[in-house]
Amino acid sequence: MSTANADHDHPAHLAHHFDTVEQQFDSAKLGMWVFLATEILMFGGLFCAYAVYRGNHPEVFLYAHHFLDTFWGAFNTVVLLVSSFTMAWGVRAAQLGQKNILVLMLLLTFLGGVGFMVVKAVEYYGKWEHATFAGPWNNAFFNEDGQFVHPDKLEDTVAYGAKKMDKKAHAVAHVDEELGLHDTDAERLVEKETQEEHAEQHEAAEAQDAAVAAAPGPPLPTDHSDFKPAHNGPGGLSDMFMEDGAAPEAFVAAAAASAAGHTFVTWEDLDNRQKGLVSQFFQIYFMMTGLHGLHVLIGMGLIGWILFRAAMGAFSPAYFTPVDLVGLYWHLVDLIWIFLFPLLYLIH
């Protein structure tokens, strides 16, 4: 197919069932967009699972997301954005017939994929090390019939989570101090409003809590199993995600907030029902980032393929369709991550 035939009255890359190069290009692109739409629908299933579990158990997500490292999540976001930029530049180079720039840009894009996967692998390894991996085999929070499957691992994992939380609390307090944030009226107002709203519903709980918080030692009560899970009713999206719609546990944490005035839900804040749900966060995290990571790998394979073809001089301003379509695929991978990053790493 790639053998050019000078006698023919049409270019070698034009298939005979298309009238013009233009029509062929537009058809290919339309087909690619339909495929990308099915990709979005596939990821939509996982985003739905995420939304349902987070909507029902916001405090569990608040607790569990501290096991993820915001720095590496942000770092990988930057890596993917830059590789999307080099990919877009590569398409431009292909359109203009700049072969060397095209090869360079494809190479840089491929290296971006390598960088992303290396960071992801290090993150996954960390999850394995601290027993927060996918599935039942190495997740300290995994439970069956009301019993943790790996009770021996639980203490270390919880301690590790608390350590990460401490680190974040200090970082946030530091930033607040730098910016003078906790002195702003706006923040005080938001805090006051939130507390007032809660005060009515949870007066009793608050009183009990204040007593514990005032006492020295661990500032938070350790057992809230007597609290019923909050039920929001069919209040719709906003209610489900609003902090004031959260279970009392989230509020308890808010009342005994750190010096910076931030709400960090700790292991002790969770009741026995919620403790059993923590592993779900990790299952969702691994399914979402795993499927995304698989797409990064496939994208890298495709980029490697067009990199090889570009180096062989297969593309020209008249024919750059594969570069364009692989570019679209790579940008979609970037798009998915743009949503995954704040949803998984930046839960507030």
Binding site: L41, T77, G146, G327, I338
Partner: protein, 113 residues
């Protein structure tokens, strides 16, 4: 028949691609910075709004949607509409029966609270 396209395809200038990258990086910083400030329930919506703006920039400029046949954008938007419907109805549904649902509870000894 011409070997070249009848309509010239839009070639993005490098400055435009670089400007889009700069905007995306700034928005990434903003989305991280927002978590340092407690906006109560607003935080998630700010994070999602920033993500949507970032996605729009990637779609319009990196994916050329702004210069493409509009039908490609229609396909993309249609898929997003259907995903929204799917998630929206699922959330309404789960909110409706959540309180009748018996959740497994970790036994007190096992929880080590």
């Amino acid at each position: 028949m011409s070997v070249h396209f009848e309509h010239e395809h839009h070639v993005s200038p490098i400055w435009q691609l670089a400007a889009v990258l700069a905007v995306l990086l700034i928005l990434t910083f903003i989305t991280v910075a927002v978590t340092w400030i407690d906006l109560g329930g607003l935080n998630i919506w700010v994070a999602l709004a920033v993500a949507v703006v970032k996605a729009a920039f990637v779609g319009l400029y990196f994916m050329h949607l702004r210069y493409d046949a509009p039908f490609n954008a229609v396909i993309l938007i249609a898929s997003l509409v259907f995903v929204s419907l799917f998630i929206g109805f699922s959330l309404i549904d789960t909110a409706a029966y959540q309180d009748q649902f018996e959740q497994p509870v970790i036994s007190s000894d096992a929880a080590g609270g």
